[in-house]
Amino acid sequence: MSRTPTEVADAVSEVFRGVFDQLAAWRTPIEQLLAASAGGVGAAAGGTGAGASSGEVRPVTLDTTVADLVLPRLEEDDPMLVGAGFIADGEVVRGKGVHFAWWLGPLDDNPVLGSTDGPTRLDLSTRGYTEYLRDFRALEWYRIPATTRHAHVTGPYVDHLCTCDYILTLTMPVHDADGERMVGVVGADVAVRTLERALLAAFLDVEEPLALVNEHGRVVLSTEPALQVGQLAGPGSRTVPCAGTPFAVRVQPAGSGS
């Protein structure tokens, strides 16, 4: 019993800073690619191609770039991320309304997607719910970065479209060459159980019971047995924000009473 709640909150911030730094590192080459396409470099490749105009990038070029960036992080041992990629709005990818350059890490026995032993591309064209996802801009992981122009964490939530698991989705806005308009998000999914493995020891190293909660008070991790993951926590004796994240460490948290 050697840590304080503040130190635990710092440990949480550290984990999220690692993922956000990764997103920022992915964003730079993607923005450079988009800027190069906007500058007319893409026109040489297109020639008479239908729909070719400045400001658009060829899907295959974008996909290769994104795959090269994210696949190493999905293939590593004990990956922190269960999914990652870039989702472009309708105006930057040639011939596409909405473009998902998104990969899933290896999946355990999954009732919707089956089991996979390597990364797989999220292929919406072969899925029945593509139509539903056309208004993806209304979904939290896209809508909030578009509104605030800042990175955002969605969840914890049961993601029934991608992983069928309880996850957090981190997204960061990607802007056009002028830096004016958001043209998509880079993002990564983190399974709640992976986050727990990274942080539980630190939480248990504090004498008082603690809960990691999101901005709605939803529990991500708890050392108070009466308060479980997924519940809404009641007030505690105090709440320590985790800098740079929407999360906070609640000390001696109460259950939600329901």
Binding site: D109, N110, P111, V112, L113, G114, S115, T116, T120, D123, T126, R127, G128, Y129, E131, Y132, L133, P156, Y157, V158, H160, L161, C164, D165, Y166, H216, G217, R218, V229, G230, Q231, L232, S256, S258
Partner: protein
């Protein structure tokens, strides 16, 4: 017609299969999806490798399953770049298949499926009421307000989507997965009664009751409304079973 509000019913069609007789299971799952309107006429099914991965079966099993569908006249396969397996629309044929399916299942099997479906759904509804934030409840209410129940096909898709969205609010990945699996196995039959607009209206009312209970964090009321919903659907399903066993029409209106 805006029918694709919720993804649940559609993705459930392709959820993973288990155990023996897999080609027949592939055929059965897709048949239910087609004849009950979850998959649209003219729609291209996912590719054979994609189906194999989604169902968790070998490619040859998928081909065998699609062969059964072709023989039944439910899909046609076109070659070439824009090729694939496409859903064929034939209303009379579909009704004959549903009738045969209902005759093939015993009353005890149908009612037992409903008991299990109801237990999972009631549990999900109860947890959702305990755990949904105000924002979650408002989102679900807004979603349901815009869901189209005006036709049987739209109502089936949206009812499936609603039940899945409700399960999501339980915050339990296992309940969501089980809900997806059960909707795949049993959803199309359970929603058979949606051919009757009275059933659609009753279901929509019960959905509203569930949403109100979730918004007010009234767990026992959410459970009760979810239970009533499944009981109502099961009653209509068993009535349809009795009609076809008597040689009557599948969705002939019946006197309550």
């Amino acid at each position: 017609m805006e029918t694709r509000v919720g993804p649940g019913a559609r993705e459930a069609v392709f959820a993973q299969l288990a155990d023996a007789g897999r080609a027949e299971q592939v055929a059965q799952r897709l048949t239910d999806g087609i004849v009950l309107g979850v998959l649209d006429p003219g729609e291209r099914l996912p590719s054979e490798p994609e189906l194999a991965r989604r169902f968790g079966v070998a490619l040859i099993t998928v081909r065998e399953g699609l062969g059964i569908l072709r023989d039944a006249g439910l899909v046609e396969t076109r070659r070439g770049r824009e090729g694939g397996s496409f859903v064929v629309h034939d209303d009379a044929e579909h009704r004959a298949i549903i009738t045969a399916r209902l005759r093939g299942l015993a009353q005890v099997e149908l009612s037992d499926m409903a008991v299990y479906f109801g237990a999972i759904l009631a549990g999900a509804a109860e947890r959702a009421a305990e755990r949904a934030s105000d924002e979650d409840a408002a989102n679900l209410a807004g979603w349901l307000r815009n869901a189209d129940f005006s036709t049987a096909a739209a109502a089936r898709t949206n009812q499936g989507g609603f039940l899945l969205e409700l399960a999501v609010l339980s915050q339990s990945a296992r309940l969501v997965r089980e809900q997806i699996r059960l909707q795949a196995e049993f959803g199309p039959l359970l929603l058979l009664g949606f051919a009757d607009e009275v059933a659609r209206a009753e279901a929509a009312d019960l959905d509203q009751r569930i949403v109100r209970a979730v918004a007010r964090h009234r767990a026992s009321r959410a459970r009760e409304a979810a239970g009533e919903l499944v009981v109502m659907l099961a009653r209509r399903l068993l009535a349809a079973k009795a009609r076809v066993e008597r040689g009557g029409a599948l969705d002939e209106p019946h006197a309550d």
